[in-house]
Homo-oligomer: 234 residues x 5
C-alpha cells in the first residue's frame, strides 16, 4: 500500500450484498472522483479466483484515495466467505487505525419489498449518534446487520472507533443503482461533498444488466470448476 497522504479522512466500505448497493455506490464514486488506487487486501483464505478487467488482473478487494474530498475507500468485487468475515473486518479496521480515519461508513442494502428508496442510518455508539444526528435520514431503529458491514460495526464498537452504517432501501435482491444513488446523496449532505449521481441514474438500467451478466459468469465459472473437480477425482 502506498503511504497515505490524508490527515483525517473518511473511510467508505463497499462489499457485495443485497442489491449490490455498496458496490455500485463505491464503483460510481471511484469513477466520478477519479479516485486513485492505492493498494489492495488479499488473503490465502479467499477463493482462488482472479478477476480480469480490461485484460488486467484486478485485486478483488481494492483501496482507493481521493485527496480533495479526503476519502479512503475499500471496494470489493467478491463477497467475503462467511468464515473469514470477522477476520477481514479486523484487518480493515487495523488499516483505518493506521490511517487515523475520522469516521467509517459501511454501505449495505435493505430489501423491504416496497418501491421507496429511503436511506437508513445506524451508529457504532450512542455518543456518535448524538453527535452525528442528521435531519431527514431515517434511523434503522431496530434489527440486525449481517456480513462484513455488521462485523465492521462490531469491531469499531469494540475499539471505540466512530462508524456509521448506511442502508439503502431496495425492493429486492437485484442490483439497484437507484438505491446506491440515494446513499451517495446522503453522504453528500453528511460530509459536504458534491458527488454527482446523474450518470448513475441515467445508466441505471445499463448497469443493472452488466452486473447481472457478471454475476452469471461468476456462477457459471464456479459451476464449471466444481464439475472439473468432480470429473477428475471420480
Amino acid at each position: 500500500m502506498e503511504p497515505p497522504s490524508l490527515s483525517s479522512p473518511v473511510f467508505i466500505e463497499g462489499f457485495p450484498g443485497i442489491g449490490l448497493v455498496g458496490v455500485i455506490a463505491c464503483n460510481h464514486i471511484v469513477q466520478e472522483l477519479k479516485m486513485r488506487e492505492i493498494g489492495f487486501i488479499t488473503s490465502p483464505l479467499l477463493p482462488p479466483v482472479a478477476l480480469i478487467q480490461e485484460a488486467v488482473y484486478t485485486p478483488s478487494i481494492r483501496l482507493y484515495e481521493d485527496s480533495q474530498n479526503e476519502i479512503i475507500m475499500v471496494l470489493s468485487d467478491v463477497p467475503v466467505p462467511l468464515p473469514i468475515t470477522n477476520e477481514l473486518s479486523r484487518a480493515i479496521v487495523d488499516i483505518c487505525e493506521k490511517l487515523s480515519v475520522r469516521e467509517i461508513i459501511t454501505i449495505a442494502g435493505l430489501a423491504t419489498g416496497g418501491e421507496e428508496r429511503r436511506v437508513f442510518i445506524s451508529f457504532s455508539s450512542k455518543e456518535l449518534k448524538e453527535k452525528r444526528k442528521i435531519e431527514g435520514i431515517e434511523e434503522f431503529f431496530m434489527g440486525t446487520i449481517s456480513g462484513i458491514a455488521g462485523s465492521t460495526l462490531m469491531e469499531c464498537h469494540a475499539r471505540g472507533i466512530p462508524a456509521i452504517s448506511l442502508l439503502g432501501e431496495t425492493p429486492s435482491f437485484n442490483p439497484d443503482p437507484k438505491a446506491s444513488a440515494e446513499v451517495i446523496k446522503t453522504m453528500n449532505r453528511m460530509y459536504g461533498w458534491n458527488i454527482s449521481v446523474d450518470r448513475l441514474l441515467e445508466e441505471a438500467e445499463k448497469i443493472e444488466m452488466q452486473m447481472q451478466k457478471l454475476a452469471e459468469q461468476v456462477r457459471e465459472k464456479a459451476d464449471r470448476d466444481r464439475f472439473m473437480d468432480y470429473r477428475m477425482y471420480g
Copy 2:
C-alpha cells in the same frame, strides 16, 4: 470494561434458551433497576451479525451493574454457537473471579408441557446445596442442563465457585414472561431483593409478540444471507 464498584456482588447469567426465560428475566431486571451497562463480551467466533437497537449498535453479550442490590449481570441477545459454549463459560467465570462475585445464578427454562410455573433449583456442589437450601423452591432433582447454563455449572464446579441454576417452568418453547417473573420472585426471596414484576406480567402478552417478531427477523435475515452466499458462489 469499566472498573467494578462492588465488593462481593451476585452475578446473574441470562442467555437465549427454552422460553427465553433467562433473557426476558434479565431484560426486565435491567429496566426495573435501571442497571448501568459496564461492558461487553465479544469473540471472533461469534457469527458476524450486528444487533441494532434505537439505531445504535448494541453488543450482543452485555455486562450490567446495579450497585444498590449488588448485582452484576451478563445478558445475551444471541444464542451461543455450540462449539464455543465451553470457551464462553470459561471467559464468563474468569470475569466472575476477577470481580470476586459471591454467587453465580444462571437462569434457564424447563419445558414441561404443563401449565404450572414452578421454579427449580440446582447447585454446583453439595456444600452449596446444604448452605443455600431455600424453602418452597423445588429441587431440579435429576436430569441434565445443556448449553451455556450447564457449561457454567461445570466450570464453577471445577473451580470451586458457588453457582446456582434456576430453571423456570414453561409449557413450551415460546417466549414466556410469566416463567421469567417467577424466577425473579424466587431471586427476590433468595437475596432479599425487591424487584417488581408487575410490569412484566402486565406486558406479558405484548412482550411475547415482540420477541417472536424479533426472532422472525433474525431468521429471515439469516435465510437471506444464506441465499446470497448461494447465489454468489454458484
Copy 3:
C-alpha cells in the same frame, strides 16, 4: 483431585457402552463399597451438558477410591465423543501412572444375542496373560474392542502398563445389570474381593427401567437443543 492414599491400587474403568455393563457395574461397586469421590476429569471438548443428581451438579467423569480393597475407579455417565477417545485414554493412563496402579481393568459389554452371561477376558500383553490366567474365565480369543476400553488397552500396551479387559456377555444393547453382576463376581475371584451383587440382581429390573428413562431424557434434551439451534439461526 485429592492426594491418593493407596500404595498400589487396582484401577477400574467404566464408561457407557453396549448394555451399559461397565457403568452399571461401577455404580454398584461405588454404592456397595461406599467409595469416596476423590476427583473428576473434564475437558473443553466434552459437550456442554451438565448432569444433575439430587439437585447437585455431578461431573460426568468421576474418580472414586476404596482404601480397604485398594481400588481406584473412573466412572463416566456420558459416552465419550469419538474424536477425543484416544486423548481421554491418554489422560486416564497418565493418572494411573501417577497413582502407581498395579493393574487397570476396563469393563465393557459384548452383545452375542444369546441368553448366557459369560465374562470374557483379554490382556494388554502376552506377559500379563501368562501371569494372570484365571481358571473359569473364557478368553476373548479373537476380535476387536472399540471405544475407550479399546483405546485404553492400546495406550497401556504402548506404555507397558498391565491392563485387562473384561467383557460382560449380554443379549442385546439394552442395559443389563445381570451382565454387570457377572463381571463383578469375576473381579471378586481375581482380586479376592467380596463385593455382594445381591442388591444388583434384586433390583435388576428396576435399574433397567431407570437407565432407559435417563437415556431417553438425554436424547430428548439433545433433540430440543438441536431444534433450538435450528430455530434461532434460521
Copy 4:
C-alpha cells in the same frame, strides 16, 4: 532441485484444467525441446496417489529446464485440490523468485462452445500490459480465471512479478491438442521461439484418446479406493 543454470528464464505453468490445454501444451514442449527434468514439488496435502510411467514413479508436479530457449516449466499431471491451490501458487512463485525468472506464463483453457481456437491474453498488472502488448492476440477483456492459473496471477500481482495468462479457446471440456498448439504458436511469437507443433496436430486425435483413457483410469482408481474405505469401515 538441481541448481538453476539460466540467468533470466521464462517460466511456464501447466496444470490440468478445461480441455487439458495447459498440460497438453507443456507435455508437447517437454518432448519437442527434450527438456531436462530438474526437480519436483510435493506436499503432504496432495492425495496419496502415485503416478507410474514406464514402470517408474513420476512425481505429479515436475520442473523442467531448457537452456537454449531459456525456459523453466512446472507441469502437473494431477489437478490441485482446491484447499491447497493458494498455498501451491505461493510455493511456485517462491521458486520463480529464487530463479529470477523474467516472466511467468500460466496456460489454461477457455470453453466457449464455438469451433474457433483463438488465444486470449491477460496480464498481472497494467504496466506489464502496456509493455507486452502483442498484435494479433485477443485480450481476455473481462471475466474470471479460477484455479491455480488465477491464484498465480493473484500472487504475482501481490509481489510485483510479471505474469501473463494465456487462455486457449476450446469448444468443450474434452482434451484439445489443437487449442494447445495455438497457445504454443502464440508463445513462439511472443518469445521468438521456434517450437514445432506439427507432431501435436498430427497426433491430435491419438492424444485425445490417450488422455481420456488416463482420466478414466484415475477416476476408476478413485472409485475403487472409496469403495475400499466404505467396505473396510463398515
Copy 5:
C-alpha cells in the same frame, strides 16, 4: 522398538488393500520365517479400535525382523484412514532411514478381472529400475498406485531411498492368497530367499474364509459403534 540387529536389511511393507495381497503375503512370511516382533507403530489419529488375538491386545501396525534373511517388515491389520496416509508413510520411511535399509518393498494388489496371477513391478526412480531389472517380472508400465503403497513410493522418491512396488494380480477385491504366493515367489527370486508358499496355497481356501469373517466382524463392530453413537446422542 528394540534395537535393530541387522546392518542393511530389506524392508517389506504390507497394508490392507485390494485382495488383501500385501497383508496375506506378510502374514505368511511372518509365520514361515518365524519372524520376531520387534515393535509397533501407533498414532492418536488411528481409530480407537483394539485388535485382540489369542486374548491379547495386538498392535494393529507391527514391526518384525528376520535376521537370517535380513528382513524388516511392517504389517498392518487395519487400513489406514486416508487423511493420515501421507503422515504414516513419512513415519515408516523415517524408521527405514534409521535402520539403514537397503531397499523398501511395498506389496499391493491389482484387480484386473482376469484369472492370471502375474506380478507387476514399478520403481521409485529410473536409476533403480536400471539397476534392478529382473527377468520375467512384468512392468507396471503406466497407471497409478494409491494408498500407503503409493504414498511410500512418493516419499522414497523425494528422499532418494530405493523403493519397489510389487503388485499382485487378482481377479477381484476378495482376499486372494494365490496372488500373495506369486508375490512371495517373485521376492524369492529377487533376493535369493527361499520362503515356501506350499502352506499358503494349500490353505488358500481356508484363509480366504477366515479373512472374510474377520472383515465382517470389523464391519459389524463399526456398525454397532455408529449405532451406539446415534442412540446416545439423540
